[in-house]
Symmetry: D2
Subunit: 282 residues, 4 copies
C-alpha cells in the first residue's frame, strides 16, 4: 500500500438529506484534493447519513471544515484526521495470546498503532511486555473496591493520552465512571459469538450446550456487559471430542484474529458507531 503521507480521512455523520453526496464531493472537488475512496451509508432506521472519504492533497483544513459545516444539516459530526498511527493503551489480566499478538504486530508495523503502555491487574504478563520495552503497570485488583481500582488505572492511562483502549482479555468489568471517559474508544474481545454465552465462562457454557461452532466478538465497551456495538465476529467449528478446555484453546486463535482485525478497522477510522451498532467501511 502507498505511504500515508499527506493522506487524510474525512468522517461525516448527520441526519440524511437529499444532495449530501453531491454537496460534500463538490466541496472537495473545488479544493482540488485527490479522492482515493468514498463510502456512504444511510441507516434505514435512524435515517442517519454516514460518509468516509480518503483523500490526499494540500488544503486549508479549517477552511474546509467551515465550508462543510455550512453545507451540512445541523448536528453534523465532522472529523478530519491525518492518517497516522494511533496511540493505544492495552488492559490485560494473564492470558498471553491476544496481547502477544498485538505486541508482535505493533513492533513489526502490522498494526497502524503504537502500544504506549500495558496496564494489568495481575503480574503474569510483565515479563512478556517488558521484552518489547513497553511500560507495564501492575494495578492489583486484589481486595480492592471495583471503582477505586478502575480509577487508579484511569490515572495511569491518562498520562499516556491514548486514542483507544484495548481490553486484551482483561477479565474484570469496568465501572461506568471509567467507561464514560473513553466513550466508543474501548475495544473489548469477548470469547463467544455474542449474544450467545454472555457473561462468565463462555467456553464452559458452550461445552455444556453442545454447540458445533464457537467464536469470538470484538465490540466497543458500554455500561451494559457484553452488549456494546459489535465491530467484528468470527467462528471455528468444534465437535464432541472438544472438552471445554479444548474449546478454550481453539478459541484463542479466533479471539486474537478477531481482535486484531477489529482494531485494524478502528485505528484506520473505518468504524462508525450508530446507536448500539457499528457501520464498518472495510
Amino acid at each position: 500500500m502507498p505511504k500515508d503521507i499527506n493522506r487524510y480521512v474525512l468522517l461525516i455523520d448527520c441526519p440524511d438529506a437529499k444532495g449530501l453526496v453531491s454537496k460534500i464531493s463538490t466541496a472537495l472537488f473545488e479544493r482540488e484534493v485527490n479522492i482515493f475512496s468514498n463510502r456512504e451509508f444511510v441507516c434505514p432506521e435512524s435515517w442517519q447519513f454516514f460518509m468516509r472519504t480518503e483523500f490526499s492533497g494540500t488544503t486549508n483544513h479549517q477552511e474546509l471544515l467551515n465550508a462543510l459545516q455550512q453545507i451540512l444539516p445541523e448536528g453534523a459530526n465532522i472529523r478530519l484526521a491525518e492518517k497516522c498511527k494511533k496511540r493505544l493503551v492495552v488492559l490485560a489480566t494473564k492470558e498471553s495470546h491476544c496481547i502477544g499478538d498485538l505486541l508482535i504486530r505493533s513492533t513489526y508495523d502490522d498494526l497502524n498503532a503504537t502500544i504506549e503502555a500495558v496496564v494489568a491487574n495481575r503480574v503474569t504478563l510483565g515479563p512478556l511486555v517488558e521484552k518489547f520495552k513497553i511500560p507495564f503497570h501492575l494495578v492489583s485488583s486484589d481486595n480492592r473496591d471495583r471503582l477505586a481500582h478502575a480509577m487508579e488505572m484511569l490515572n495511569i492511562i491518562k498520562t499516556y493520552n491514548p486514542d483507544y483502549l484495548v481490553l486484551a482479555k482483561y477479565m474484570r468489568v469496568l465501572p461506568p465512571e471509567f467507561v464514560s471517559e473513553y466513550k466508543n474508544r474501548i475495544v473489548n474481545i469477548h470469547h463467544s459469538f455474542l449474544p450467545a454465552f454472555i457473561g462468565a465462562s463462555p467456553y464452559k457454557q458452550a461445552y455444556q450446550r453442545g454447540v458445533k461452532i464457537i467464536g469470538a466478538t470484538a465490540h466497543f465497551v458500554t455500561d451494559n456487559l457484553d452488549e456494546g456495538p459489535i465491530i467484528g465476529q468470527d467462528v471455528v467449528p468444534v465437535n464432541h471430542r472438544f472438552t471445554s478446555a479444548a474449546m478454550s484453546r481453539a478459541g484463542k486463535d479466533v479471539e486474537k484474529t478477531v481482535l486484531a482485525k477489529a482494531l485494524d478497522l478502528v485505528v484506520n477510522d473505518r468504524v462508525f458507531v450508530n446507536g448500539n451498532k457499528t457501520i464498518v467501511f472495510d
Copy 2:
C-alpha cells in the same frame, strides 16, 4: 462410494469399561466380516462409550447381537442396521427453500432417504410438493387447539411409518405428546446459531443486536423449545448494509445447507444422542 448392498452399521452405546474395543472387534473378527470403518468415543462427563462400525459380509445377525449382549455391560444399547434409505415425513409451513432442496435431493439420490409425505399447516407448498408426486396433507392450524392440531397430524404421519420427521421451517411449537412419539427422531432447522436468538424472529433479533455473523442450527426436537441436542451449525458473514429482510434472505442458504447436512448424518446412522448433546461420527 461403493454400493451399500450387504453393508451394515453396528451402533453400540454403553457405560465405559476396559477392553470394549477389543471385545467388540474380536467378536466381529471371529465372524469374518469385513470392517470398513470404526469410530469410538467416550464421554468424559457421562463415561458412556459410543461406537459405530460399518462392515460388510454375511453373518447371523441375531447370533451376533446375542454374542455382543453377553460381552457388553448391562444396559448396553445395540443396534444393527442394514444400510438402506430411511423413510422421512416432512413438516412445513410456507417457506420453500428447505423443502425444495430436500425434494430435489431425494428425487436425485443426493439424500439417502425418501420423502414419504409432506404435512403442512398452510396450503402454500402444495403445488411444489405435488410436482414431485409426493402426498401433501394440509392440516390447517387456524383456530385449532395446539394439541388437537398436532394429534391430527400425528395420525396422518403414523400411516407412513417414518424413521424420522423433518421440520423444514415448520413454524409452530409441537406439544410434548407429539414429541414423545418420535424421541430423538425429529430434526428441526432453527434460523440462528443457537443458543443466540432463541424463539421468534431470530433475524429481527440479529438485526437489532447488530451482529456481524448470522447462522442456522439443526437439532433434535425436545420439549424445551430450541434447546434440543445440536446436530450441526454454520454461519455467514453479514454487515451494516443488511436489513433484517436481507439477513433472512442470506440465512436461507445456510438453513437449507445445514439441514441437509444434518439429515445426511442422521439417515446414515452417524449421530448418537448423549444427554442434551450429540456425538457425530462424520
Copy 3:
C-alpha cells in the same frame, strides 16, 4: 427490502478523472431523484472509474443520459436500467443440484430472474425442468461437431432473448463463435477454487493432490477455458476420509450456493467486468 417499483440502477465506467463523483452526484441531485446507495471504485492498474448508483424517482431518462454523456470523459459507458427481473436461459447436462436449486429459487422469488428455457445436451434433466412448466430443449451433442452443436443451441437460445446465460454444470466447452454472442453475459460454475484444478475432473485432481479444502468458482465465460473473470468463490473443508466421490458430493453444495450468489449479484447489476477481473458491489 422495499419493492423495486420505480427503482433504477445507474452504472458508469470511464477513465478516472478528478471530480467524477461530484459531477455525477450533482447531476442526479439536480434532477431530484432519491439516491439509495452509491458505490465507487477506481482500479489502481487500469485507472478506470466504476460507479453504481441506485435511485428512485421520476426523471427523463434520455435527458439524464445526455447530461451524463456531456459531463463524463470520452469513452464512458453509461447504463441506466429499471430494476426488474432478468431473463435467463440455462444450459445443463445431467447433474440436478445447480439447476434444481435455480428452479426452486426462480419459482419462489428467491432469484431476481426468470428461467425462460433450459437447453441440454442430454435428456436426463427433462422431467425435472418440465415439472416447473419451463421449456426444455434437448440438443444432443452425440456425434456432433462442436461448432455445429453450439450454433444449433444458439438458434434456440436467441428466440428467448435472454439477458444472461447460465451454465449450470454444462459439461462441454463452448466455441468462441458462441461466446462472442453473449460477451460477459455467460455465467459458469466450475467445480474447483480456480485457478487450482483447471480442466476436467477437478475433484479427482483434488483427491490425488490430497488437499484439505475443495471449492467452487462462478465466473464469466471467455474463450480461455476456466480463465474468465471470477465473480465468486467458496470452499469447504475435506479430509483423508473423503474419496474423490465424497469430495464431489460435498462440493455440490458449494457449487450451487456459489452459482446462486454470483447470479444474484449479476442479475441485480452489481458486477462490472474490468479486464479479466470483476468488481462486485455487493
Copy 4:
C-alpha cells in the same frame, strides 16, 4: 486437558488385513493399559492401515512392541512415544508474523514444543528471537551456492537434535541433500491454497487472476517445490478493493494460523504421511 504424564501414543501403519483392530486392541487390553482414544483409517488406494491410539498406564514397552511385531503383517511401522514436548528448529528469512506467533505460543505453553534455535538467512529477525532468549543463527545466503549454504545451516541445526524443522516463511528452496536428512519432518507454510499459485509471489499471482479467496497451506517439504503432503489449509475472502499488498497483509493471519494448527497436529503425533498425502487424526 489432563496432564500428559504417563501418557503414550502408539502409531501403527501396515498393509491392511482382517482383524488388525481386534489384534491390536486385544494386545493392549491384555496389558491392562487405559485407552483414551483410538483412530483408524484404511486408504482405499494403497490399502495401507493406519492406527493411532492414546493410552496411559505402565507396561513394558519393549515387550509390547515385540508382541505387536508378532501380530502385525511384515513391513509394519510401529512407534510408541511418550507424550512430551517436541524439539523444533525454525528457519526464517525476514517476515515476523509466523515466527512471532510461534515464539509467543512456545513461551506460553500454547504449543506442545520448544523452539531450540532459529536459523535465518537474513539478520532482520535477530532482535525478535533474542527477546525470547533463543539462539539465533545468521547464515547469510548472499553470494552463496545453494548447497553450500544449506549444508552450513544443516551443521548448525544438527547440534540441536530437533524432532522437526519449521520453515516459518523461509524464502529459499532447500536442496534434496538437506531435505533427505529430515524426511517428513520439515513443515513449510506456503502463502496460497495449493495447488493454486505454486512458486514465487503467490499474492501477486492471486491479484492478477482476480480471485475472491486467498489462502495458505502447511505441508511437509519434499524435493518437489510446493508439492509435498498437505497437512492443513485455510482461506479468507478478498475482493476487488484488495491490492496485491493488501492480499499479502490479509494472508498473514491465515498463514500463521494454518502453520500453528498444522504444527500442533504434527507435534502431537496426529499426522501420518501416506504417499503424497497426509492422514490427520485431529
